[in-house]
Amino acid sequence: MSADSASEHGAAAPTPAASNGPPLLQATDVTKAFGGLVAVSRVDFQIPERSIVSIIGPNGAGKTTFFNMLTGLYKPTSGRITLAGKDITGRRPDKIIADGMARTFQNIRLFGTMTALENVMIGQHGRMKAGLFGSIFRAPWVRKEERKVRERGREELAYVGLKPDAFDQVAINLSYGDQRRVEIARALASDPKLLLLDEPTAGMNPQESAGLTGFMRKLRDERGLTILLIEHDMQVVMDVSEDITVLDHGEKIAEGGPQEVRNDQRVIEAYLGKQEEKG
């Protein structure tokens, strides 16, 4: 198995972006087991800087588990993860976001009773300095910091396309699309190098999905972000990804550009089942 995937990996290597510089994120031989259940098994994975990369796979393939390991919510059972050359294996999530990797969630996880702006301000928590006494005594630098963070929050919300009158609305009252926007703004507020989007187009109509695809490119081009997404909408995946990794039953079964992956026999089998031999 591993020899198999390694050969496919070799075939997929010469993607355009991979040639410039070391990868921003590199996962080596990463495994996650919950007791006897191996959710992710010996996955090698890397993302070149300033690229847009997708992880796809059938339900239960281990995509979100992989995400959770990258962002520190799960500790890998074995393997090694580095971000910009720094080993982040098993680091705490709040440290990893400070290292420059921010995420959104498959089912939107905003802080429901906080306003859109407050949500985005939380994204900057790790970049702020005010502690217990700073918060109580409100020294001028604390107030200045608070102002700056608020201002930055507004900028991010405007950047993702939220209307100004929604900034101070409680998150649960926002529309579904706006909640998605706020979640991305919250991640952006942490100044990430790498943005992880877990099924960002879930529940969106084709126009909205196309809008998001354009927005991802804009993020890459304007802000130099690297984007990794889990996605089920094949149109979006094929449209936006430079490189696609396919997981099935926790194992990497294919990797390469959209065209390659689309024609890969094992990918087709994973999605559609094995074709019976003609009798």
Binding site: Y74, K75, A102, M128, E146
Partner: protein
Amino acid sequence: MSEASNTRSRSALPVAFLKAHPNVAIAVVVGIAAVLFPYFFEPAAKPVQVMTEALAYVMMALGLNLIVGFAGLLDLGYVAFFALGAFSMGWFGSGFFSGAAGGEGLHVFVTGVAANLPGIHFNFLLIVVVAVIITTVAGMLIGIPTLRLRGDYIAIVTLAFGEIVGRIAINGDGIGLPGEATLTAGRKGITPVDKITLPFLETFEALDLRPWYYLALVLCLIVLVVNFMLRDSRLGRAWIALREDEVAAVSMGVPLVKTKLLAYGTGAAFGGVAGAFLASFQSTVNADQFLFQLSILILSMVILGGLGSIWGTVLGATTLAVINFYLIPKVFNEVPSKVGLNFDLTEINFGIFGFLMVIMMVLRPEGLIPERRRKAELTEGIGAGATTGVGGEEVREARA
């Protein structure tokens, strides 16, 4: 609309301003009433005593509100911090350690009678500092085992902690310290306790309650300001984020351990200050008073006022303290016997609170003065983490 803003800009009269801001008007009226209150009564009148105690309970309720209301950590053992604060006063402000400094007593910035007595006698400000340190450390210690727990489980651990401290208080007369001293005085209680001594002021007296009342008011005000500052700060936001969705909060850069421990520590410190004050005010550290019921009483104050709401907590604490320490034992206690029933009202005071709670949950579940967020949760019918869609898989191993 334009008319309203016109009147505001044209007349700088306070009246117009207050009309536009009814909340400020209420706060001003309540503030003035609170300041003038003792002068409606004799210096040692019962109402002054009750309100002084009520203010101490407001402090405790505000501390608990920080833990339960802001950070969402249900603490059923808050009485432990009251106890530790009271013992700080008992240890460092009474003749309890009579062997201290070879029987001569240890005196730090105290005047009046206490300056010549054996035992340890610190200035009240120092004792407050000691109480804050002891309770903050205790609060953080109790925080550590609950870090990985949620909801009901936190409640059980904190409940146990409250009981442990209560038991130690009762049985501490068997715990020996160097020099024939013991840890606590057990059921005998530590009494008398020093009257409060503050710099530049004369030592407080038992027969004039006004200084006590004003000190309690000032302490309350400080606690209140600290609460408001924390609520609208980086830390306050992080507490609410943790309360709403722990996984999302840590993923967005909120350090779980530090943030939770700060909530426990800060909330506990307020309980410690109130405990030290009450010990001196009542001139006793009575081990029998640190009961589970008291934790529940303080929690009821917070819930009645409105979980997470600062003004609500103040109102809830004042109301329940007056009911519990004045109306039930002093005013209506005889009522059952007058109508031919063979019990005192004090015997069923928790029944009365329970009844009040039920009434409140039916009529106004968000509390007397609800917090904006809680109100949203209850009226929109959507709880914490409300944006989580259907089929949200739980992150089983959320860590930090």
